[in-house]
């Protein structure tokens, strides 16, 4: 009961945060290599409670072996620490690009689809799929979910990072770079005209 009320309080907080899109929740992930790996990266996630989807956009570099998988785990006993069950299915969703040492991918988890979930996660939180969905939604809101990217060197996950609820989407590095490139272009054009 304590857990539930805490979850509800967290959910209420999360509801209150983004006013314009009441049903879209954003998460930021700093990906770090597990022991013995120099890999790193970042990811942005969008939980859409109207479409009931979880969109993931990830960038990474320095894997010791080609990428093999991406997984969401939930729900750790305390926020931002410890291990938890794999919530998403063993197979990566459509859009995932395996075989990369560095790069990026964008995938969308359909949270209404039983195939999206790991059977063990549904068994632990079920029996209904909606129970598993709720466990994931509240786990995300509580900061008790994390992302892993597996490689041939570390199949269980070479990169890992907690899903941190954020109020608004963080500009992607690529977008920021585009902006910089645009500014540089303007500066160049201005200097040429002179």
């Amino acid at each position: 009961m304590m857990r539930l009320s805490a979850a509800l309080a967290a959910a209420t907080l999360a509801w209150a945060a983004p006013a314009a899109h009441a049903h879209e929740f954003y998460y930021q992930v700093d990906l770090a290599g597990v022991a013995g790996s120099a890999a790193n990266g970042s990811a942005q996630l969008l939980l859409d409670l109207d479409l009931v989807t979880l969109d993931l956009d990830a960038n990474f570099t320095g894997l010791s072996g080609p990428s093999t998988s991406v997984h969401i785990h939930c729900c750790t006993a305390v926020p931002f620490a410890g291990d938890a069950l794999r919530a998403s299915a063993p197979a990566a969703p459509p859009g995932f690009t395996p075989g990369l040492l560095h790069g990026s991918f964008a995938v969308s988890f359909d949270l209404t689809d039983p195939a999206t979930y790991d059977p063990g996660f549904v068994a632990a939180h079920g029996p209904l799929l909606s129970d598993a969905l709720n466990a994931l939604i509240f786990g995300l809101a509580d900061g008790r979910a994390y992302l892993t990217i597996g490689s041939s060197a570390q199949p269980a996950g070479e990169l890992r990072g907690a899903l941190v609820p954020v109020a608004a989407p963080v500009p992607e590095p690529a977008t920021a770079l585009l902006g910089l490139a645009g500014l540089a272009g303007l500066a160049l054009a201005a200097s040429r005209r002179r």
Binding site: A22, D50, V52, P114, L128, S130, D131, N134
Partner: protein, 200 residues
């Protein structure tokens, strides 16, 4: 008996004809439940939604009641349009974050929520994102919404604290009004009787 029917039939015809000349407001109905959700849940709650659309007047009346929600309400919308009729999920078509004046924080609503929206304007009636992806104007968005409802691809959803993705929902479907159907039957019967009399 036959003679008594004629004035009744005339009266019925008089009632129907003005409605036929103009667009008749169409009533849609949905039974809201947890098993109707995607994914389905075991909520014991039940709800009823009635949506009355008057295309000529560009209005949409939304009437919703429900009881026994596990959580308390956080928002309600009409979502449109799913890929297939009666299944899946879609984005919000109506005003966000929720229907204007829809009660939040309650688990039962015995006295129905009842509000008429002016669908000729975007603000206060539509989700801007829906308008932008459906022609960019209130008129084009309303047409898309009505088409989606007629195709069985729109649902009314109630989100709660316990089921943030939606605790109860139902796909909207047109219902023939009992009164109209009855009047129409009376009228047809009278016409049939009248022609039989004339033939004799």
């Amino acid at each position: 008996m036959r003679q008594a029917l004629i004035p009744a039939a005339l009266a019925a015809a008089a009632l129907i004809s003005p409605n036929l000349a103009h667009a008749i407001p169409v009533t849609y109905y949905a039974k809201l439940s947890g098993p109707n959700e995607a994914p389905a849940n075991a909520s014991p709650a039940l709800g009823y939604a009635e949506v009355v659309i008057d295309v000529a007047a560009s209005t949409m009346e939304v009437i919703v009641s429900f009881r026994n929600l596990v959580g308390t309400t956080t928002a309600s919308h009409i979502h449109c349009c799913t890929g297939n009729a009666g299944a899946g999920t879609a984005g919000v078509a109506t005003v966000t974050p929720s229907f204007t004046g829809f009660p939040n924080g309650v688990s039962s609503l015995v006295v129905p929520y009842d509000r008429t929206f002016n669908m000729a304007v975007v603000a206060g009636s539509f989700n801007t994102a829906y308008v932008n992806s459906n022609g960019g104007t209130a008129a084009s968005a309303f047409t898309a919404l009505v088409n989606g409802i007629n195709a069985g691809k729109a649902y009314l959803n109630i989100h709660t604290t316990s089921f943030p993705g939606g605790e109860i929902r139902g796909f909207l479907a047109p219902v023939p009004e009992a009164g109209t159907a009855g009047m129409l039957a009376t009228g047809l019967l009278a016409i049939a009787l009248g022609s039989r009399r004339r033939a004799r």
